[in-house]
């Protein structure tokens, strides 16, 4: 049975092994003069140990599937919107990106009305630009339309 602990332990073990593999390219040095791979290797071994412990121990039995994943669609939508923002930020410019992200989140994900969405989106995009760009003097990217 795939318990939450076993799943987590498995991920940790995989990560630890990954780090060990990646560290082969770096010199490990010696105990007297540790190289760049020394401490990461030690840590990876520790993580491996913890991962195995998690897999093997008799802890509280919580099935991985029961961990409450029902809201994953919502969470993924939010993450996707943010990922779009990251991609578009320097290409489309700040205000346009934020406008699009807001419309996506409010209208499509949260199903708010058109008027509320557009008002809020515009207010937030321009308001935050003013706050960060003008008051805090952060150079926020301008898009192709100079906007």
């Amino acid at each position: 049975m795939l318990t939450a602990d076993r799943l987590a332990g498995g991920v940790l073990v995989a990560l630890a092994l990954g780090v060990l593999v990646e560290s082969r390219a770096l010199p490990i040095g010696s105990l007297r003069n540790p190289g760049p791979a020394f401490v990461p290797a030690v840590l990876a071994l520790l993580l491996l140990g913890f991962g195995i412990l998690l897999i093997a121990r008799r802890g509280p039995v919580v099935r991985a599937a029961d961990a409450g994943w029902s809201d994953w669609r919502h969470a993924v939508a939010i993450l996707a919107a943010c990922a779009f923002a990251a991609l578009a930020l320097e290409r489309l410019g700040y205000r346009l990106t934020i406008l699009i992200v807001m419309v996506f989140l409010l209208a499509l994900v949260e199903r708010r009305g058109v008027l509320a969405t557009s008002l809020f989106a515009v207010a937030l995009a321009f308001g935050s630009y003013y706050l960060f760009g003008t008051i805090l003097r952060v150079p926020l990217p301008l898009g192709p339309l100079g906007f």
Binding site: P27, G29, S30, N33, G35, P139
Partner: protein, 326 residues
């Protein structure tokens, strides 16, 4: 039909805009990229330069801090930006170091030095060698002699491996035939803290940050890596005078543009920087920071830059990858 009209208008508008942009440089705000965090040497040099250039070019000039990876992030950013003269780089000597270090480690370089067109040198601080006031060496000669007697026993801090402060010491070690022990730290600040706390014996540093401590009697300057003595420290000899002409190192700051920037634009920028170097406000600002202006341009800067780059490249290759030595 309507669509064709609109399309034509757009195309005409775009071309005219393009033509208009080529008319007078600069027609848009210029950005000088400082690849170090605010408050660092590059930043503190970039701001007076930007302010003075704005006056000269009569167009806004702003400073953008793009930090990371000891300057590599900002330098890579300018190397790959459009060579139209609107994105410039204020680089320190590390511009020659980073690609060499990359080569040493067999990494694809973040950028290469020939992706840049040198415009002008703004300042060149010679590094000076300081030791703690309580240490037994009163002159550079005593220091070097002691280092020869006890190779690998004298410790020095630096701002990071292959960094400017490390390379300065490296050049000295090679020139004087001595071997010292290197304790890298995470930056120039921690390097200074390390020597002030007595955790290392020596430090190569730019003069501006150590002069207050010298005056307060906490640090003792032994010699300088410059061609001439530092103005604020007239009693401190140069390594050249002491017989080590190969120990020459400056932490310099210069203005660069991406290679491929059109000639007239480069010429205008060079003209502008010459005016900047003579600007009274600029001079006053640099004075306040106790950083002397060392203006070089065109061919002069190019040769200075190339000599420096070659020196550093040799030094880096000599240091090699440290684990291979042990």
């Amino acid at each position: 039909m309507g669509r064709i009209v609109v399309l034509t208008i757009l195309v005409l508008a775009a071309t005219t805009a393009g033509v208009a942009a080529q008319d007078a440089f600069p027609s848009r705000p210029i950005t000088i990229v400082a690849p170090f965090p605010p408050g660092g040497v590059a930043d503190l040099t970039a701001r007076p330069v930007a302010a003075a250039m704005e006056k000269v070019l009569k167009s806004p000039v702003g400073v953008l801090n793009k930090t990371g990876a000891a300057g590599a992030v900002g330098m890579q950013y300018v190397a790959t930006s459009k060579p139209d003269g609107y994105t410039l780089l204020l680089a320190l000597s590390s511009i020659s170091i980073i690609p060499e270090a990359d080569k040493l480690f067999g990494r694809p370089p973040a950028f290469t030095v020939d992706q840049f067109e040198p415009i002008a040198l703004i300042s060149a601080d010679p590094t000076i060698l300081v030791v703690r006031a309580e240490s037994p060496w009163k002159t550079a000669k005593e220091f070097i002699d002691d280092a020869r007697k006890r190779p690998g026993q004298i410790t020095y801090s630096s701002s990071g491996i292959y960094g400017t402060l490390h390379m300065a010491m490296e050049l000295l070690s090679h020139a004087a035939g001595i071997k010292m022990r290197h304790v890298p730290t995470a930056g120039a600040g921690p390097a200074l803290t390390a020597i002030l706390g007595g955790h290392v014996d020596a430090l190569a540093s730019g003069p501006a940050v150590v002069i207050p401590h010298i005056k307060a009697g906490k640090l003792r300057p032994l010699a300088g890596w410059g061609d001439k003595r530092v103005a604020a420290l007239p009693d401190v000899p140069t390594f050249k005078e002491l017989g080590y002409p190969d120990a020459e190192f400056y932490i310099w700051a210069g203005l660069f543009a991406p290679r491929g920037t059109p000639e007239p634009v480069v010429a205008r920028l060079r003209e502008a920087t010459r005016a900047v170097a003579n600007d009274a406000d600029f001079k006053a600002a640099m004075d306040k920071m106790q950083t002397p202006i060392a203006f070089k341009q065109g061919a002069e800067f190019k040769s200075f830059f190339e000599v420096d780059a070659r020196r550093l490249a040799e030094g880096i290759r000599r240091v090699g990858r440290i684990e291979e030595k042990k």
